[in-house]
Symmetry: C2
Subunit: 255 residues, 2 copies
């Protein structure tokens, strides 16, 4: 594979830099952050600004991400076949399970949430479409890891960040869990990401039976798990059924 276009890679790095830092960044900060000459960084920023990918605060002269990215991100969702097919099934699952439903795909070293159905009660909830979740500490992530050796390889050997006392941080434990996931056909994560929150996830395959994403039902431990502390079998069944339905919708007819 021949090399990449230098200016484009640099522009992408600038966008990621702006996305990472919480606040706006000045020209010099951007240039220093990527080891570029100021003139070079300025040329790229100027072009990104013209295209709407970056905006400049006229007062301070600092840069931040631009609106065009939001528009293109929405277009990404519009074209996304998995998401389109899964919309109705995710809705059904949320209603049947009475829990929040996420649809996630592998992206870089995490899970990107491409769809989110609120738990069907009136509690205040924020939409998490477009946000990333860790691979090692969520049900979505463990499902995707279990069926994607490449992603597992890229994740390295840890130890990974512990979000709660129950987060899996060691490679041996994670690989054991992944083996279990493959054996059972579903993954759970009980208080591994947030205290009090438990999730169940199952894999979605496309027409060539390749893994393309995962569905997940998530909610309070008290409702997701039974009195024995294990995930309620009926919830597992609902999630697996939804995953199968979406896979079939994508063309994976044979099981």
């Amino acid at each position: 594979m021949p090399g990449a276009i230098q200016s484009l890679s640099r522009a992408a790095a600038i966008l990621r830099l702006l996305a990472g830092g919480e606040r706006r960044l000045g020209l010099s900060e951007v240039a220093a952050g990527l080891g570029l000459a100021k003139g070079t960084a300025h040329g790229i920023l100027r072009t990104l600004q013209q295209e709407g990918f970056v905006e400049q605060d006229p007062e301070s002269g600092k840069y931040q991400l631009g609106a065009e990215l939001l528009r293109l991100g929405q277009s990404y969702l519009d074209v996304h076949e998995l998401r389109a097919r899964a919309l109705v099934w995710a809705d059904d699952l949320a209603r049947a399970a009475g829990e929040t439903v996420y649809l996630g795909v592998l992206h870089q070293r995490g899970v990107l949430v491409v769809h989110h159905v609120f738990r069907p009660d009136d509690s205040r909830q924020v939409l998490e479409v477009g946000s990333m979740q860790p691979l090692h500490a969520t049900a979505l992530g463990k499902v995707l890891l279990a069926y994607d050796p490449v992603a597992r390889g890229e994740l390295g050997d840890g130890p990974w960040e512990a979000f709660t006392a129950r987060t899996v941080t060691e490679p041996a434990a994670l690989d054991a869990q992944c083996a279990l996931v493959r054996e059972r056909g579903w993954a759970d994560a009980v208080e591994e990401t947030w205290e009090g929150v438990a999730s169940v996830a199952a894999l979605i395959r496309d027409r060539r039976r390749n893994p393309v994403g995962a569905v997940c039902a998530s909610g309070a431990v008290e409702t997701v798990c039974g009195p024995d502390g294990a995930v309620r079998p009926s919830l597992v069944a609902s999630v697996r059924t939804a995953a199968r339905a979406i896979s079939r919708d994508l063309g994976a007819h044979r099981f």
Copy 2:
């Protein structure tokens, strides 16, 4: 202003092209669509793919937008100051008015929705954050046009697309409406975009009193308008109060 970086502008054009066409596009289609040599288009696409801005269907070899755009779009929302300040006010407005609330900013030749609060009932609704609305046929758009001569200039002389029988399509009529908006301090759009839907919008200013966006309450004609066919004054008051509150939050202290 010196010229833009060629490869970057071309990459942006490719992304817009992919966002516009509903389906995936092949390399040759992309090259032809922008008048580029195939090799050139391929180099840009390859780089965009490495950076995650574009994905390639391994089966057909066709290209579509990539997941990184969704992630960056979300980051745009995270940093967006107007949106952050407006979140709580928009929520209050939706509850008080009992209608859907939109928050929009000017982008290119339309209104980009940066926040959306569902009407507080249990009806099925789809999130429209990231979508675009026409300037000439929505309350949000007319508010932004009324206070931004540049945007009005860029819109040209019409006639614009008619979405319903009541859509304003002629420049004279639109300019008259804009004058009215400036005089009253708010805009309405009754069945100008969709049959049966009416909206009220008011302007949001930043600390230098420059227009930066608009809030809008939108719902069925029967609930938004009174028996005389005009928008209910109490709803207008709620929207204007919300707009003032957000503006004040942004630092526009003096009125």
